[in-house]
Protein backbone atom coordinates (compact mmCIF):
# COMPACT_ATOMS: atom_id res chain seq x y z
CA UNK A 1 0.00 0.00 0.00
CA UNK A 2 1.37 3.41 -0.88
CA UNK A 3 2.42 5.57 2.02
CA UNK A 4 -0.10 8.33 1.48
CA UNK A 5 -2.88 5.77 1.40
CA UNK A 6 -1.83 4.87 4.93
CA UNK A 7 -2.08 8.51 5.96
CA UNK A 8 -5.42 8.94 4.23
CA UNK A 9 -6.89 5.85 5.89
CA UNK A 10 -5.44 6.91 9.21
CA UNK A 11 -7.06 10.32 8.92
CA UNK A 12 -10.36 8.62 8.09
CA UNK A 13 -10.01 6.42 11.14
CA UNK A 14 -10.09 3.36 8.97
CA UNK A 15 -6.51 2.16 9.19
CA UNK A 16 -6.16 -1.35 10.52
CA UNK A 17 -4.03 -1.72 13.66
CA UNK A 18 -1.34 -3.65 11.85
CA UNK A 19 -1.02 -1.00 9.17
CA UNK A 20 -1.12 1.68 11.83
CA UNK A 21 2.04 0.24 13.32
CA UNK A 22 3.55 0.26 9.87
CA UNK A 23 2.59 3.90 9.42
CA UNK A 24 4.20 4.92 12.68
CA UNK A 25 7.30 3.01 11.75
CA UNK A 26 7.45 4.84 8.43
CA UNK A 27 6.84 8.17 10.12
CA UNK A 28 9.71 7.65 12.50
CA UNK A 29 12.17 7.54 9.66
CA UNK A 30 10.56 9.62 6.93
CA UNK A 31 10.60 13.39 7.34
CA UNK A 32 8.60 13.99 4.20
CA UNK A 33 5.88 11.61 5.29
CA UNK A 34 5.69 13.29 8.68
CA UNK A 35 5.24 16.61 6.96
CA UNK A 36 2.48 15.17 4.79
CA UNK A 37 0.68 13.82 7.82
CA UNK A 38 0.91 17.17 9.57
CA UNK A 39 -0.37 18.98 6.49
CA UNK A 40 -3.20 16.52 5.94
CA UNK A 41 -4.35 16.91 9.51
CA UNK A 42 -4.08 20.65 9.26
CA UNK A 43 -6.09 20.65 6.06
CA UNK A 44 -8.78 18.45 7.50
CA UNK A 45 -9.10 20.30 10.77
CA UNK A 46 -9.09 23.70 9.06
CA UNK A 47 -11.94 22.71 6.80
CA UNK A 48 -13.94 20.96 9.49
CA UNK A 49 -13.61 23.69 12.05
CA UNK A 50 -14.64 26.41 9.66
CA UNK A 51 -17.88 25.03 8.39
CA UNK A 52 -19.58 27.90 10.17
CA UNK A 53 -18.14 30.21 7.56
CA UNK A 54 -20.60 28.64 5.15
CA UNK A 55 -23.70 29.28 7.20
CA UNK A 56 -26.46 30.70 5.02
CA UNK A 57 -27.18 34.35 5.47
CA UNK A 58 -30.19 35.55 7.40
CA UNK A 59 -31.56 36.77 4.13
CA UNK A 60 -31.37 33.30 2.60
CA UNK A 61 -33.15 31.86 5.60
CA UNK A 62 -35.87 34.45 5.55
CA UNK A 63 -36.35 34.05 1.84
CA UNK A 64 -36.69 30.32 2.15
CA UNK A 65 -39.18 30.44 4.98
CA UNK A 66 -41.19 33.05 3.15
CA UNK A 67 -41.21 30.85 0.07
CA UNK A 68 -42.44 27.97 2.20
CA UNK A 69 -45.10 30.18 3.76
CA UNK A 70 -43.81 29.76 7.30
CA UNK A 71 -45.19 32.16 9.84
CA UNK A 72 -44.04 30.73 13.13
CA UNK A 73 -40.36 31.16 12.53
CA UNK A 74 -38.65 34.41 13.28
CA UNK A 75 -35.75 35.82 11.35
CA UNK A 76 -34.14 38.58 13.28
CA UNK A 77 -30.44 38.20 12.43
CA UNK A 78 -28.40 41.28 11.82
CA UNK A 79 -25.32 39.74 10.30
CA UNK A 80 -24.43 36.78 8.22
CA UNK A 81 -22.37 33.69 8.52
CA UNK A 82 -21.77 34.16 12.17
CA UNK A 83 -22.44 31.97 15.12
CA UNK A 84 -24.72 34.07 17.23
CA UNK A 85 -26.77 33.80 20.35
CA UNK A 86 -29.84 35.55 19.09
CA UNK A 87 -32.04 32.71 20.26
CA UNK A 88 -31.59 33.97 23.77
CA UNK A 89 -34.11 36.55 24.73
CA UNK A 90 -32.27 37.46 27.83
CA UNK A 91 -28.61 37.44 28.43
CA UNK A 92 -27.04 37.59 31.85
CA UNK A 93 -27.05 41.37 32.00
CA UNK A 94 -30.70 41.54 31.10
CA UNK A 95 -31.50 38.93 33.73
CA UNK A 96 -29.79 41.03 36.31
CA UNK A 97 -31.47 44.22 35.16
CA UNK A 98 -34.91 42.61 35.24
CA UNK A 99 -34.30 41.21 38.69
CA UNK A 100 -33.17 44.58 39.99
CA UNK A 101 -36.06 46.35 38.33
CA UNK A 102 -38.50 43.76 39.61
CA UNK A 103 -37.11 44.05 43.12
CA UNK A 104 -37.39 47.82 42.97
CA UNK A 105 -40.98 47.66 41.71
CA UNK A 106 -41.88 45.23 44.47
CA UNK A 107 -40.33 47.60 46.95
CA UNK A 108 -42.36 50.53 45.60
CA UNK A 109 -45.57 48.54 45.56
CA UNK A 110 -45.03 47.28 49.06
CA UNK A 111 -44.30 50.79 50.29
CA UNK A 112 -47.35 52.19 48.56
CA UNK A 113 -49.65 49.80 50.30
CA UNK A 114 -47.96 50.16 53.64
CA UNK A 115 -49.61 52.09 56.42
CA UNK A 116 -47.35 54.50 58.17
CA UNK A 117 -49.65 54.82 61.12
CA UNK A 118 -48.17 54.45 64.57
CA UNK A 119 -48.03 50.98 65.95
CA UNK A 120 -51.40 49.83 67.07
CA UNK A 121 -50.48 46.37 67.71
CA UNK A 122 -53.10 44.63 69.63
CA UNK A 123 -56.64 44.94 70.75
CA UNK A 124 -57.64 43.16 73.88
CA UNK A 125 -61.18 42.66 75.05
CA UNK A 126 -62.45 40.85 78.07
CA UNK A 127 -65.81 39.23 78.26
CA UNK A 128 -67.45 42.51 79.14
CA UNK A 129 -66.22 43.73 75.72
CA UNK A 130 -64.11 46.44 77.25
CA UNK A 131 -61.63 47.31 74.57
CA UNK A 132 -58.47 49.27 74.81
CA UNK A 133 -55.48 49.74 72.60
CA UNK A 134 -51.92 49.22 73.54
CA UNK A 135 -50.17 51.65 71.32
CA UNK A 136 -46.48 51.71 70.57
CA UNK A 137 -45.66 48.63 72.52
CA UNK A 138 -43.22 45.98 71.55
CA UNK A 139 -43.62 43.05 71.83
CA UNK A 140 -47.27 43.07 70.91
CA UNK A 141 -48.58 40.53 73.38
CA UNK A 142 -47.56 41.87 76.74
CA UNK A 143 -50.61 40.33 78.34
CA UNK A 144 -49.18 36.90 78.60
CA UNK A 145 -45.62 37.72 79.42
CA UNK A 146 -45.99 37.17 83.18
CA UNK A 147 -46.99 33.58 82.83
CA UNK A 148 -44.01 31.30 83.25
CA UNK A 149 -45.62 28.42 81.51
CA UNK A 150 -46.35 30.59 78.51
CA UNK A 151 -42.82 31.55 77.69
CA UNK A 152 -43.02 29.55 74.53
CA UNK A 153 -46.11 31.37 73.49
CA UNK A 154 -44.56 34.75 73.79
CA UNK A 155 -42.02 33.50 71.35
CA UNK A 156 -44.55 32.06 69.02
CA UNK A 157 -46.75 35.09 68.70
CA UNK A 158 -45.45 38.55 68.57
CA UNK A 159 -43.83 41.25 66.61
CA UNK A 160 -41.92 39.61 63.82
CA UNK A 161 -38.54 40.46 62.56
CA UNK A 162 -38.06 41.01 58.90
CA UNK A 163 -36.14 38.21 57.45
CA UNK A 164 -35.65 37.09 53.95
CA UNK A 165 -34.24 33.70 53.25
CA UNK A 166 -33.09 32.84 49.86
CA UNK A 167 -33.48 29.20 49.55
CA UNK A 168 -31.22 27.34 47.28
CA UNK A 169 -32.83 24.55 45.52
CA UNK A 170 -32.24 22.39 42.57
CA UNK A 171 -34.29 22.95 39.55
CA UNK A 172 -34.92 21.55 36.19
CA UNK A 173 -36.90 22.11 33.12
CA UNK A 174 -37.20 20.17 29.98
CA UNK A 175 -38.87 17.05 29.03
CA UNK A 176 -36.47 14.35 28.15
CA UNK A 177 -37.15 12.95 24.82
CA UNK A 178 -37.53 9.25 25.09
CA UNK A 179 -36.01 8.31 21.86
CA UNK A 180 -32.96 10.49 22.12
CA UNK A 181 -30.68 8.32 20.10
CA UNK A 182 -28.02 9.59 17.79
CA UNK A 183 -29.22 12.70 16.03
CA UNK A 184 -28.64 11.23 12.65
CA UNK A 185 -27.07 8.15 11.34
CA UNK A 186 -25.00 10.21 9.02
CA UNK A 187 -23.21 11.62 12.00
CA UNK A 188 -21.61 8.23 12.37
CA UNK A 189 -19.15 9.42 9.85
CA UNK A 190 -17.66 11.66 12.45
CA UNK A 191 -14.17 10.70 13.36
CA UNK A 192 -12.19 11.70 16.30
CA UNK A 193 -8.53 11.48 15.79
CA UNK A 194 -6.04 11.64 18.57
CA UNK A 195 -2.45 11.50 17.67
CA UNK A 196 0.19 11.60 20.25
CA UNK A 197 3.76 11.22 19.26
CA UNK A 198 6.97 13.07 19.58
CA UNK A 199 6.19 14.69 16.25
CA UNK A 200 3.22 16.71 17.33
CA UNK A 201 -0.06 16.41 19.08
CA UNK A 202 -3.45 17.09 17.64
CA UNK A 203 -6.60 16.16 19.39
CA UNK A 204 -10.22 15.71 18.66
CA UNK A 205 -10.87 17.35 15.42
CA UNK A 206 -13.88 16.15 13.62
CA UNK A 207 -14.99 15.86 10.11
CA UNK A 208 -18.33 17.25 10.95
CA UNK A 209 -19.39 20.22 12.97
CA UNK A 210 -22.85 21.14 14.07
CA UNK A 211 -23.37 24.79 13.39
CA UNK A 212 -25.80 27.15 14.89
CA UNK A 213 -27.44 29.32 12.33
CA UNK A 214 -28.32 32.93 12.65
CA UNK A 215 -32.02 32.64 13.10
CA UNK A 216 -34.36 31.96 15.91
CA UNK A 217 -37.01 29.34 16.23
CA UNK A 218 -39.86 30.48 18.35
CA UNK A 219 -40.54 28.05 21.15
CA UNK A 220 -37.30 26.24 20.61
CA UNK A 221 -35.32 26.13 23.80
CA UNK A 222 -31.87 24.65 23.51
CA UNK A 223 -31.19 22.78 26.71
CA UNK A 224 -27.71 24.16 27.01
CA UNK A 225 -29.10 27.63 27.35
CA UNK A 226 -32.07 27.46 29.59
CA UNK A 227 -31.87 25.78 32.96
CA UNK A 228 -34.56 24.40 35.16
CA UNK A 229 -34.32 26.94 37.94
CA UNK A 230 -36.58 29.91 38.10
CA UNK A 231 -36.78 32.83 40.41
CA UNK A 232 -40.24 34.29 40.87
CA UNK A 233 -41.17 37.56 42.50
CA UNK A 234 -44.68 38.26 43.70
CA UNK A 235 -46.73 40.96 45.23
CA UNK A 236 -50.04 40.19 46.93
CA UNK A 237 -53.31 41.65 48.03
CA UNK A 238 -54.91 39.82 50.92
CA UNK A 239 -58.42 39.66 52.24
CA UNK A 240 -58.91 38.16 55.66
CA UNK A 241 -61.79 35.77 56.11
CA UNK A 242 -62.75 37.82 59.13
CA UNK A 243 -62.95 41.59 58.77
CA UNK A 244 -60.00 42.98 60.75
CA UNK A 245 -60.92 45.35 63.53
CA UNK A 246 -57.35 46.43 63.97
CA UNK A 247 -54.81 47.84 61.58
CA UNK A 248 -51.72 45.89 60.71
CA UNK A 249 -48.72 46.55 62.82
CA UNK A 250 -46.10 48.66 61.13
CA UNK A 251 -45.47 46.92 57.87
CA UNK A 252 -42.10 45.64 56.98
CA UNK A 253 -40.25 46.50 53.82
CA UNK A 254 -41.44 44.18 51.08
CA UNK A 255 -44.64 43.52 52.99
CA UNK A 256 -46.97 41.34 50.94
CA UNK A 257 -44.09 40.33 48.72
CA UNK A 258 -42.67 36.91 48.09
CA UNK A 259 -39.68 35.44 46.37
CA UNK A 260 -39.75 31.88 45.15
CA UNK A 261 -37.01 29.65 43.84
CA UNK A 262 -38.50 26.80 41.86
CA UNK A 263 -37.17 23.79 40.07
CA UNK A 264 -38.98 22.09 37.20
CA UNK A 265 -38.89 18.45 38.12
CA UNK A 266 -40.75 17.54 34.95
CA UNK A 267 -42.98 19.22 32.43
CA UNK A 268 -45.81 19.22 34.89
CA UNK A 269 -44.26 19.11 38.32
CA UNK A 270 -42.40 21.98 39.90
CA UNK A 271 -40.92 22.02 43.37
CA UNK A 272 -39.51 24.96 45.17
CA UNK A 273 -39.26 27.15 48.21
CA UNK A 274 -40.41 30.62 49.05
CA UNK A 275 -39.83 33.40 51.49
CA UNK A 276 -42.75 35.71 52.05
CA UNK A 277 -43.31 38.84 54.03
CA UNK A 278 -46.94 39.03 55.13
CA UNK A 279 -49.43 39.76 57.85
CA UNK A 280 -52.12 37.56 59.34
CA UNK A 281 -55.08 38.88 61.24
CA UNK A 282 -55.11 36.78 64.38
CA UNK A 283 -57.99 36.46 66.78
CA UNK A 284 -57.45 34.25 69.80
CA UNK A 285 -58.50 33.95 73.41
CA UNK A 286 -56.35 33.76 76.47
CA UNK A 287 -56.29 34.42 80.15
CA UNK A 288 -54.47 37.49 81.40
CA UNK A 289 -52.58 37.94 84.63
CA UNK A 290 -55.80 38.84 86.43
CA UNK A 291 -57.43 35.58 85.42
CA UNK A 292 -59.75 37.26 82.98
CA UNK A 293 -60.44 35.56 79.65
CA UNK A 294 -59.69 38.02 76.89
CA UNK A 295 -60.05 38.00 73.17
CA UNK A 296 -56.93 39.25 71.51
CA UNK A 297 -56.72 40.69 68.05
CA UNK A 298 -53.52 41.50 66.29
CA UNK A 299 -52.12 41.74 62.83
CA UNK A 300 -48.34 41.33 63.08
CA UNK A 301 -45.80 40.88 60.34
CA UNK A 302 -44.44 37.48 59.56
CA UNK A 303 -41.66 36.15 57.47
CA UNK A 304 -42.92 32.83 56.28
CA UNK A 305 -40.66 30.22 54.76
CA UNK A 306 -42.43 27.57 52.77
CA UNK A 307 -42.04 24.59 50.49
CA UNK A 308 -43.92 24.58 47.19
CA UNK A 309 -45.35 21.83 45.05
CA UNK A 310 -46.86 22.97 41.78
CA UNK A 311 -48.72 20.98 39.15
CA UNK A 312 -48.96 22.51 35.70
CA UNK A 313 -52.11 21.27 34.09
CA UNK A 314 -51.45 22.00 30.45
CA UNK A 315 -49.82 24.42 28.08
CA UNK A 316 -52.33 26.24 25.94
CA UNK A 317 -50.63 28.73 23.65
CA UNK A 318 -48.08 29.52 26.34
CA UNK A 319 -50.80 29.91 28.98
CA UNK A 320 -50.16 27.37 31.70
CA UNK A 321 -52.84 26.91 34.34
CA UNK A 322 -51.56 25.38 37.54
CA UNK A 323 -52.43 24.42 41.07
CA UNK A 324 -50.02 24.78 43.91
CA UNK A 325 -49.75 23.59 47.47
CA UNK A 326 -47.55 25.34 49.97
CA UNK A 327 -46.58 24.38 53.48
CA UNK A 328 -44.59 26.84 55.48
CA UNK A 329 -43.73 28.09 58.86
CA UNK A 330 -43.22 31.38 60.64
CA UNK A 331 -42.76 32.51 64.18
CA UNK A 332 -46.40 31.96 65.02
CA UNK A 333 -47.05 28.55 63.58
CA UNK A 334 -47.65 26.56 60.45
CA UNK A 335 -48.99 28.06 57.25
CA UNK A 336 -50.90 26.03 54.67
CA UNK A 337 -51.78 27.46 51.31
CA UNK A 338 -53.71 26.30 48.30
CA UNK A 339 -53.25 28.21 45.08
CA UNK A 340 -54.64 28.14 41.62
CA UNK A 341 -53.48 30.39 38.86
CA UNK A 342 -52.10 30.81 35.42
CA UNK A 343 -48.71 31.47 33.96
CA UNK A 344 -48.15 33.17 30.66
CA UNK A 345 -44.80 32.81 28.92
CA UNK A 346 -44.31 35.45 26.25
CA UNK A 347 -40.68 34.34 26.08
CA UNK A 348 -39.22 30.99 26.93
CA UNK A 349 -37.38 32.27 29.96
CA UNK A 350 -39.83 34.83 31.23
CA UNK A 351 -43.21 34.19 32.83
CA UNK A 352 -46.00 36.38 34.05
CA UNK A 353 -47.92 34.76 36.87
CA UNK A 354 -51.33 35.49 38.35
CA UNK A 355 -52.97 33.35 40.99
CA UNK A 356 -55.61 33.17 43.69
CA UNK A 357 -54.65 31.80 47.05
CA UNK A 358 -56.13 30.61 50.28
CA UNK A 359 -53.85 30.73 53.33
CA UNK A 360 -54.33 29.29 56.75
CA UNK A 361 -52.15 30.06 59.76
CA UNK A 362 -52.42 27.46 62.44
CA UNK A 363 -51.05 28.69 65.76
CA UNK A 364 -51.23 27.90 69.45
CA UNK A 365 -51.88 30.10 72.44
CA UNK A 366 -52.10 28.85 76.02
CA UNK A 367 -52.32 25.29 74.80
CA UNK A 368 -55.20 26.09 72.49
CA UNK A 369 -55.03 25.98 68.73
CA UNK A 370 -56.34 28.81 66.60
CA UNK A 371 -56.61 29.47 62.91
CA UNK A 372 -56.26 32.57 60.89
CA UNK A 373 -57.43 32.53 57.28
CA UNK A 374 -57.03 34.86 54.39
CA UNK A 375 -57.48 35.00 50.66
CA UNK A 376 -54.98 36.56 48.36
CA UNK A 377 -54.40 37.64 44.80
CA UNK A 378 -50.79 37.20 43.81
CA UNK A 379 -49.22 38.67 40.75
CA UNK A 380 -45.63 38.54 39.70
CA UNK A 381 -43.12 37.28 37.22
CA UNK A 382 -40.57 34.53 36.93
CA UNK A 383 -37.24 34.34 35.22
CA UNK A 384 -35.80 31.03 34.22
CA UNK A 385 -32.06 30.49 34.38
Amino acid sequence: MDKFQLISDFIDGELEPLLESQLFLELSSDDELRQKLKNTILLKSALASNLSAFAPSANQTQKLFSALGFKDVLNPPTSTGKIENQGKFLNATKYLMILLLGGFLMFLISRYFTDDIPEKIITKSDNSKHIYDLANQIPPIPIIKNYENEQKLTKSIGNKKNETHLIANESYDYEEFVNAETIQTIMNSEHKIIIESDLFSLQNFTSNTMIELPFVIRNSYPSTRIGKFSIELFNSHYFSSEEPTISPSKNAIFNNSAIKVVYDLSDNITLGAEARQETFYQVFEGMDEFGIINTYRQQPNFTTIGAIGRYKITNWYNFIPFIELNVGTNNAGLVYRGTTGITYSPYHNFNIILNLEYSNLNFMHQQNWFNSNKFGINYGFGIKF
Binding site: N50, A55, L68, D72, M210, P222
Partner: protein
Amino acid sequence: MKKDYSKYNDEILLEIVRSDSKESELAFAEIYNRYATNVNAYCKFMLRDIEKVQDIFQEVFIRFFKKIKSDFENINIKAYLIKVARNLCLNYFKRNKEFISIENFDLGFTESNYEQKELINVITRTIDLLDEKYKEPFIMREIEGLSYNEIAEICELSVTNAKTRVKRAREKLLELLNPFLKDYVE
Protein backbone atom coordinates in the same frame (compact mmCIF):
# COMPACT_ATOMS: atom_id res chain seq x y z
CA MET B 1 -45.32 21.92 27.29
CA LYS B 2 -42.76 23.76 25.29
CA LYS B 3 -40.57 21.61 23.17
CA ASP B 4 -36.89 21.70 22.62
CA TYR B 5 -36.71 20.51 19.06
CA SER B 6 -32.95 20.28 19.14
CA LYS B 7 -33.32 17.21 21.33
CA TYR B 8 -35.28 15.33 18.72
CA ASN B 9 -33.62 13.07 16.22
CA ASP B 10 -34.21 13.48 12.52
CA GLU B 11 -36.76 10.72 12.33
CA ILE B 12 -38.99 12.31 14.94
CA LEU B 13 -38.63 15.74 13.38
CA LEU B 14 -39.69 14.34 10.03
CA GLU B 15 -42.76 12.83 11.64
CA ILE B 16 -43.65 16.19 13.17
CA VAL B 17 -43.19 17.99 9.85
CA ARG B 18 -45.39 15.42 8.15
CA SER B 19 -48.05 15.75 10.80
CA ASP B 20 -49.20 19.15 9.52
CA SER B 21 -49.56 20.27 13.10
CA LYS B 22 -48.80 23.74 14.30
CA GLU B 23 -45.36 22.41 15.29
CA SER B 24 -44.59 21.40 11.75
CA GLU B 25 -42.85 24.64 10.82
CA LEU B 26 -40.74 24.65 13.94
CA ALA B 27 -39.65 21.08 13.36
CA PHE B 28 -38.71 21.88 9.80
CA ALA B 29 -36.79 24.91 10.98
CA GLU B 30 -34.84 22.67 13.33
CA ILE B 31 -33.93 20.37 10.46
CA TYR B 32 -32.92 23.43 8.48
CA ASN B 33 -30.85 24.58 11.41
CA ARG B 34 -28.96 21.32 11.38
CA TYR B 35 -28.18 21.02 7.70
CA ALA B 36 -28.43 24.41 6.05
CA THR B 37 -24.73 25.09 6.52
CA ASN B 38 -23.79 21.80 4.90
CA VAL B 39 -25.99 22.49 1.92
CA ASN B 40 -24.79 26.04 1.59
CA ALA B 41 -21.15 24.97 1.85
CA TYR B 42 -21.63 22.37 -0.85
CA CYS B 43 -23.35 24.84 -3.16
CA LYS B 44 -20.68 27.47 -2.57
CA PHE B 45 -17.85 25.09 -3.30
CA MET B 46 -19.50 23.73 -6.39
CA LEU B 47 -20.97 26.85 -7.92
CA ARG B 48 -19.09 29.91 -6.75
CA ASP B 49 -21.77 32.17 -8.18
CA ILE B 50 -23.31 33.67 -5.10
CA GLU B 51 -26.71 34.35 -6.68
CA LYS B 52 -26.92 30.87 -8.11
CA VAL B 53 -25.81 29.43 -4.80
CA GLN B 54 -28.74 31.13 -3.12
CA ASP B 55 -31.19 29.96 -5.76
CA ILE B 56 -30.09 26.37 -5.55
CA PHE B 57 -29.85 26.46 -1.78
CA GLN B 58 -33.46 27.56 -1.61
CA GLU B 59 -34.58 25.07 -4.21
CA VAL B 60 -32.96 22.23 -2.28
CA PHE B 61 -34.95 22.94 0.85
CA ILE B 62 -38.19 23.56 -1.01
CA ARG B 63 -37.84 20.20 -2.74
CA PHE B 64 -36.96 18.60 0.56
CA PHE B 65 -40.04 20.08 2.20
CA LYS B 66 -42.25 18.81 -0.59
CA LYS B 67 -40.69 15.38 -0.32
CA ILE B 68 -41.37 15.20 3.39
CA LYS B 69 -44.97 16.12 2.82
CA SER B 70 -45.49 13.68 0.00
CA ASP B 71 -43.33 10.75 1.01
CA PHE B 72 -43.42 8.92 4.30
CA GLU B 73 -40.25 7.02 3.65
CA ASN B 74 -37.54 7.70 6.19
CA ILE B 75 -34.49 9.26 4.67
CA ASN B 76 -30.96 10.12 5.57
CA ILE B 77 -31.55 13.86 5.54
CA LYS B 78 -28.05 15.15 5.01
CA ALA B 79 -27.26 12.67 2.28
CA TYR B 80 -30.58 13.46 0.64
CA LEU B 81 -30.01 17.21 0.76
CA ILE B 82 -26.51 16.92 -0.68
CA LYS B 83 -27.81 14.63 -3.39
CA VAL B 84 -30.50 17.12 -4.37
CA ALA B 85 -27.97 19.95 -4.26
CA ARG B 86 -25.64 17.94 -6.44
CA ASN B 87 -28.31 17.22 -9.02
CA LEU B 88 -29.32 20.86 -9.17
CA CYS B 89 -25.68 21.91 -9.52
CA LEU B 90 -25.11 19.38 -12.31
CA ASN B 91 -28.21 20.63 -14.12
CA TYR B 92 -26.92 24.13 -13.80
CA PHE B 93 -23.53 23.11 -15.18
CA LYS B 94 -25.19 21.47 -18.14
CA ARG B 95 -27.17 24.58 -18.94
CA ASN B 96 -24.54 27.12 -18.15
CA LYS B 97 -20.87 26.70 -18.79
CA GLU B 98 -19.62 30.20 -18.21
CA PHE B 99 -16.59 30.81 -16.10
CA ILE B 100 -17.20 32.35 -12.73
CA SER B 101 -14.42 34.35 -11.27
CA ILE B 102 -13.20 33.04 -8.00
CA GLU B 103 -12.39 36.58 -6.94
CA ASN B 104 -16.07 37.47 -6.78
CA PHE B 105 -16.73 34.81 -4.29
CA ASP B 106 -17.20 35.76 -0.69
CA LEU B 107 -17.06 32.98 1.83
CA GLY B 108 -18.35 35.16 4.61
CA PHE B 109 -15.71 34.35 7.15
CA THR B 110 -16.07 35.91 10.50
CA GLU B 111 -12.97 34.64 12.26
CA SER B 112 -11.00 37.29 13.91
CA ASN B 113 -7.91 35.20 13.45
CA TYR B 114 -6.40 36.53 10.29
CA GLU B 115 -4.04 33.61 9.78
CA GLN B 116 -6.86 31.13 10.04
CA LYS B 117 -8.93 33.11 7.60
CA GLU B 118 -6.05 33.29 5.22
CA LEU B 119 -5.46 29.55 5.52
CA ILE B 120 -9.08 28.76 4.74
CA ASN B 121 -9.16 31.12 1.83
CA VAL B 122 -6.04 29.57 0.35
CA ILE B 123 -7.36 26.05 0.87
CA THR B 124 -10.73 27.00 -0.61
CA ARG B 125 -9.16 28.47 -3.70
CA THR B 126 -6.90 25.51 -4.08
CA ILE B 127 -9.80 23.09 -3.82
CA ASP B 128 -11.26 24.91 -6.77
CA LEU B 129 -8.26 23.89 -8.83
CA LEU B 130 -9.01 20.20 -8.35
CA ASP B 131 -10.53 18.12 -11.08
CA GLU B 132 -14.31 17.92 -10.55
CA LYS B 133 -14.24 14.17 -10.11
CA TYR B 134 -11.88 14.54 -7.14
CA LYS B 135 -13.22 17.78 -5.85
CA GLU B 136 -16.75 16.61 -5.30
CA PRO B 137 -16.03 13.52 -3.18
CA PHE B 138 -13.43 15.51 -1.29
CA ILE B 139 -15.95 18.22 -0.39
CA MET B 140 -18.50 15.63 0.60
CA ARG B 141 -15.98 13.94 2.82
CA GLU B 142 -14.12 16.84 4.36
CA ILE B 143 -16.70 19.59 4.37
CA GLU B 144 -19.95 17.70 4.63
CA GLY B 145 -18.64 14.85 6.74
CA LEU B 146 -20.38 12.19 4.69
CA SER B 147 -19.29 8.58 5.00
CA TYR B 148 -17.67 6.85 2.05
CA ASN B 149 -20.81 4.75 1.64
CA GLU B 150 -22.91 7.88 1.35
CA ILE B 151 -20.47 9.51 -1.03
CA ALA B 152 -20.46 6.38 -3.15
CA GLU B 153 -24.24 6.33 -3.25
CA ILE B 154 -24.64 10.00 -4.08
CA CYS B 155 -21.90 10.06 -6.72
CA GLU B 156 -22.82 6.62 -8.03
CA LEU B 157 -19.37 5.23 -7.40
CA SER B 158 -18.03 2.17 -5.65
CA VAL B 159 -16.90 2.76 -2.08
CA THR B 160 -13.33 1.95 -3.09
CA ASN B 161 -13.53 4.49 -5.87
CA ALA B 162 -14.88 7.11 -3.51
CA LYS B 163 -12.02 6.47 -1.12
CA THR B 164 -9.47 6.63 -3.87
CA ARG B 165 -10.81 9.90 -5.18
CA VAL B 166 -10.76 11.50 -1.78
CA LYS B 167 -7.24 10.25 -1.21
CA ARG B 168 -6.10 11.64 -4.57
CA ALA B 169 -7.76 14.95 -3.86
CA ARG B 170 -5.93 15.16 -0.57
CA GLU B 171 -2.67 14.26 -2.23
CA LYS B 172 -3.13 16.82 -4.96
CA LEU B 173 -4.14 19.51 -2.52
CA LEU B 174 -1.11 18.86 -0.35
CA GLU B 175 1.08 19.07 -3.38
CA LEU B 176 -0.39 22.44 -4.32
CA LEU B 177 -0.52 23.74 -0.79
CA ASN B 178 2.79 22.36 0.38
CA PRO B 179 4.78 25.60 0.39
CA PHE B 180 2.03 27.44 2.19
CA LEU B 181 1.22 24.71 4.70
CA LYS B 182 4.87 24.13 5.46
CA ASP B 183 5.23 27.71 6.61
CA TYR B 184 1.93 27.56 8.42
CA VAL B 185 2.74 24.41 10.37
CA GLU B 186 6.17 25.65 11.29
